[in-house]
C-alpha cells in the first residue's frame, strides 16, 4: 500500500513538470573614464551569481552579464546629467530558471573604477555574491539583500572615507570582512531573519558607531582586542553576552574601553535576535 502511495505521489510530481526554454545571452558593456567626478552607482541584481571588484583598466565600469533573455533584462546605463550608473538584471517574470546548476544560472561580473568617488548601493535578490570592495573609492555604501549569500571584503584600504555603511538583511546571509579598512565611521544594520557578520579586521582609523536593529536574526561582530567596546542595549527577548563588560549608567563597557585608542560603540535594538561579540578583550 505504501509503495502504491509512493507511485501515485511520483505520478503527481512528474505530471507537474514542465519544460522551459531558455535564451542565454551575454552582454559586455563598459564606459571610458572622461573625468573623475563623483558618481552614484546602483547595482540591482535579482538572481544569479555576482562578482564585483575594482577595475584594472581605465574604464568607469566594465560589466559582463550572462542572462536569460526570456526572463530577464540587463541594465547597463550611465546618466551623464545625474551621474548615476545603473547596472544589473531585472526580472521580467517571476518564473525563474533553475539555479541548481552553475550552467543554468545567470552571472554578472562588474568592475568599477577605483579612482572615481562613488556612493555604491547594491540591491540583491536570490544572489550568490562575492564583493571585493577594497581598493575602491567609496564614500557611501548601501547593501540590501533579500535571500542572498553575500561575502564582501575590504582586503585593501578604501581610497576615500566611507561616511555610512547601511546594511539591510532580510533572510540573507551577509558576511563583511576587514571592515576597518573601509574607513567607515557609522554602520547602520537592520537584520530580519538572516544573519549578518561584521569583521572589523584591518586598520581601524577612527571610532565606529554601529546601530543594529535585530528582529529575529543574528549579528556577529568581530572586533580587535585593542579596541574598546561600548554597547547600549535595548532588547526584548534577544540581547548579547555581557561577560567581560561593566555596566555603567548609559550602557555596557569593555574593560579596556578607557585605555583603547579607538572605540566601537554599538547601539543594539533587539527583539528576538542576538548579537555575538568575538575577538574583544575580556
Amino acid at each position: 500500500m505504501k509503495l502504491r502511495n509512493v507511485a501515485l505521489l511520483t505520478a503527481l510530481v512528474a505530471s507537474s513538470v514542465s519544460l522551459h526554454a531558455q535564451t542565454w545571452r551575454t552582454i559586455d558593456a563598459s564606459r571610458q573614464v572622461h573625468d573623475t567626478g563623483a558618481i552614484a552607482a546602483h547595482i540591482d541584481y535579482a538572481a544569479g551569481k555576482l562578482d564585483l571588484r575594482p577595475a584594472t583598466g581605465s574604464a568607469l565600469y566594465h560589466v559582463t552579464t550572462r542572462y536569460d533573455a526570456d526572463q530577464t533584462d540587463p541594465v547597463t546605463r550611465f546618466d551623464t546629467a545625474s551621474r548615476v550608473l545603473s547596472l544589473g538584471v531585472h526580472l521580467r517574470s517571476m518564473h525563474m530558471s533553475g539555479g541548481d546548476h552553475e550552467d543554468d544560472a545567470g552571472s554578472m561580473l562588474a568592475e568599477l573604477n577605483s579612482a572615481v568617488p562613488m556612493d555604491l548601493s547594491l540591491d540583491l535578490g536570490a544572489v550568490e555574491a562575492d564583493l571585493q570592495l577594497g581598493g575602491l573609492h567609496l564614500t557611501d555604501l548601501s547593501l540590501r539583500s533579500g535571500a542572498a549569500d553575500v561575502t564582501a571584503r575590504f582586503n585593501q584600504p578604501n581610497r576615500g572615507t566611507l561616511r555610512t555603511m547601511t546594511l539591510q538583511v532580510g533572510a540573507a546571509q551577509v558576511k563583511l570582512m576587514d571592515v576597518a579598512n573601509a574607513g567607515v565611521s557609522r554602520i547602520v544594520a537592520e537584520v530580519g531573519a538572516g544573519s549578518l557578520s561584521i569583521d572589523l579586521g584591518g586598520t581601524l582609523a577612527r571610532d565606529v558607531d554601529i546601530t543594529a536593529t535585530l528582529a529575529v536574526g543574528g549579528l556577529t561582530l568581530n572586533v580587535s582586542p585593542d579596541e574598546g567596546v561600548f554597547v547600549d542595549e535595548r532588547s526584548f527577548l534577544g540581547g548579547f553576552e555581557k561577560a567581560g563588560f561593566t555596566k555603567k549608567a548609559d550602557g555596557w563597557y569593555s574593560t579596556n574601553y578607557d585605555a583603547a585608542a579607538h572605540h566601537v560603540r554599538v547601539h543594539l535594538h533587539a527583539f528576538a535576535g542576538g548579537m555575538t561579540l568575538t575577538g574583544m578583550q575580556k
Partner: protein
Amino acid sequence: MRILHARAAMFNMVGMALIAAVGIVSRATSLAAQQSPARITVDSLAKALAGLHESSDSASIPAASSFAFGDSTIAAGRHTAGPVAIADGALHVRGTIDGDAVTYNGDIVVHQGGAIHGNAFAVLGKVILDGGVVSGDTRSLTGDLRRVGTGIGAAGQSRASITAHSLALSAGWLAVLVVVGIGVLIFASTNLDAVSDAIERGFGKAFLAGIATQLALAPALALLCVGLALTILGALLIPFAIVAYILAAAGLVTLGYLAIARIAGRSVLGDSDSSDGARRAAALRSMVYGLLLLMLPWFVAGGLTWSPTLELIARMVAVSITWVAATAGLGAAVVSRGGVRRATTPHAQASLNTASWATPTPVAGVTAARRPTPYTTGAPK
C-alpha cells in the same frame, strides 16, 4: 521463460519509445542546424532585430532600413552624423561619428584618432578600442540570438527551430508520461485497472463525472478552506491543504489519463490472456501505444508550424482530444475513488444475488469422492 520474454518486450517497448523521442528531437535539431546562414538581407535583418527584446540596451538600435551592408570605414579626419549602422561587416572608425554606432554581425573598431560621440553597440560582434575614444557606453551582445540569413533561409531556420522546439516539447511530455505510466503499472496497477473498468463500463458517465468534478474543484477547495478556517489549527493547515488538494487533483487526472491511454492502446493491440508477466508486458505495450496515439495530434501540430492555420487547427484538435481524455479519465478516477473501489459488474451482481453465498457447499451438491487409503500387503501391527 515466458516471463523473461515479457520483460524483454517491456524493455524493448520503453527503449523504442525513448529512442523514437530522442530520434525525433535530434532529427529536428539537425534540420535546424543544416540551415546555414547566408548573406543578410534587409528583411531578414528586420526579423532578427525584432527578435531582440526591446530592453533599454537594444532600444537604441535603428531600423533595419538604416543599415548598410558589408565592411565600412569612417576615414581619418572625416565627420559623420550618427547613427551609423552596419550589418554583416565590421565598422572601422578612424574619423569621428557624431552619434551612435551600431553593427550587426560585425565588430566596431575605434582606431587611434577615431572617436564616437555617442554609444557603440555591436550585436554579435565586439567593440574594440584600438586607441580611439567612445564618449558613451560600449556594448557587445552575443549568445543565443536569432541568426539571420537570406530571406527564405532565415524564415526556414526560424520555423525549423520552432518545429524542433514543439516536437521536443511533445517528446518530453511523452517520455514523462511513459515513465509515470511505468511507475503506476508497477506500483498501482489495481488502481489503474479499476479506473479503466470505470471508463469501459460507461464512458459517457465518466465524462460527465469529469465535467462535474472540474466545475466542483474550485468551490470544493473554497469550502475546504472555509471549513479549516473555523478553527485555529485548521487555519494553520490551509496552505498544506491547498497543496495537497492540488496534488490530489493532478494525481487523479494523471491516473485517469493513463487509464484512457491504456484503453486506447488495448483497442489497437487487443487483449492478452497469458501469464501474469505477459499481461503486464501487454498492459505496458497498450499504455505506450495509447500514449503515442493521444500525443500524436501534438506531434502533428508541432510538425505543421510551416502553416499557422493548419497548426492552429491541429492544436485545437490536440487540445480537444487531450481535454476529453483528461476529463473522462478524471471522472472515472473520481467514480472509482481513485481506483480504490473496484467495479461491480451486472454479471457479478447477479451472481451475488443467488443463494450461493449462503453456504460454502453449492446448493447443487458435491460429487462424492472416495477417500484415498494407503495400500498395504502386510499384516497389521
